[in-house]
């Protein structure tokens, strides 16, 4: 957004620093997953469709940004988007980011996370 206003130029992107950086995950509580598996599957089915829509119909998808983000349409049409795939990311990437946290002093040591990531509610990959 800064660049679009002519205020700045990008020196180094987040992707230059940590390629493929995974920004965020969507979580549910264990209790909710256990009690509402059908709802969670329905939600993720719709979410993965939305990922595909953003990839394949980017211009049309961007039309909704001003309504929810309070930015002008020209900004909405040019702002960089994340890359959305199918909701899954390689575990190596997650641990790569964890290792950087450890090196940076933000984690005491390796934290096994496999038991806290559950892709079984996502639609099957085509």
């Amino acid at each position: 957004m800064l660049e679009m206003h002519g205020a700045s130029r990008l020196l180094f992107s987040f992707n230059d620093a940590i390629p493929g950086y995974v920004f965020a995950g969507l979580f549910f509580t264990d209790k909710y997953l256990k009690e509402n598996p059908q709802k969670v599957r329905a939600f993720l089915k719709g979410l993965v469709k939305a990922f595909g829509y953003v990839r394949d119909h980017e211009k049309e998808a961007r039309r909704w940004i001003p309504k929810y983000c309070g930015v002008e349409m020209d900004v909405a049409m040019k702002s960089a988007l994340r890359h959305f795939e199918d909701g899954r990311e390689p575990i190596e990437q997650i641990y790569k980011q964890q290792n950087i946290m450890i090196e940076n002093g933000h984690l005491p040591g390796r934290v096994p996370v496999e038991a806290y990531i559950d892709y079984s509610y996502l639609p099957t990959a085509d």
């Binding site: 205020a7 909704w64 996502l122």
Partner: protein
């Protein structure tokens, strides 16, 4: 409906609510309602698309987006049942695992790529052209763990560390106009946003 029936219905609704029973069924959304947090950010575009293009409606689900800031608040709201799904950055996720908080990541919400324009921004007229030029400069960041990780990795590319720069923590990522003002007034040399 007479008064006694109305009171009974109200009491029943309160009772069901207290028992955490989903009372949101309707023919349009047989699966009921799901409350999902969002950050009023462009990064949440798939959530806006899912709503506006009716992808969840077609699945029989009504999704309500709830604006909630702060990952600790989001976890607390989920554990309390005020929301059903929320965002969590990897750093907060790792800490949640350490604390054995009973949550699961079920999908990741996007990654950086070659076209990513988030990063370190210098003023258009600045003489900062390479990472090496950051030595001794004032760099504004949100100060959160992700921002520090990315800044550290950036500095390392030029053999620099946090000791070589002046880090100014606390900028908010959704205040683009303030970022612009800070750069133009030369209050800071570089902004991570």
């Amino acid at each position: 409906m007479d008064f006694r029936k109305a009171v009974l219905c109200a009491l029943l609704a309160v009772l069901l609510s207290g028992l955490n029973v989903d009372t949101s069924y309707s023919e349009d959304c047989p699966l009921g309602v799901m409350k999902v947090t969002y950050g009023r950010s462009i990064d949440d575009l798939p959530l806006y698309v899912g709503l506006e293009e009716g992808f969840w409606g077609k699945e029989g689900l009504k999704v309500e987006l709830v604006r909630l800031a702060g990952e600790q608040n989001i976890i607390a709201a989920a554990l309390h049942g005020d929301i059903n799904a929320g965002h969590l950055g990897p750093p907060s996720f790792f800490h949640a695992v350490i604390r054995k908080i009973p949550v699961k990541i079920v999908a990741w919400l996007g990654r950086a790529h070659k076209g990513t324009r988030c990063g370190l921004h210098a003023d258009q007229k600045s003489d900062i052209n390479t990472i090496s030029d950051l030595k001794g400069k004032r760099i504004a960041t949100s100060g959160d763990i992700s921002a520090r990780m990315i800044l550290r990795e950036t500095l390392l590319k030029a053999g620099l560390t946090f000791d070589d720069i002046h880090e100014i923590k606390g900028i908010k990522l959704d205040e683009a106009m303030k970022h612009e003002a800070a750069l133009r007034s030369q209050g800071v040399d570089v902004i991570s946003a």
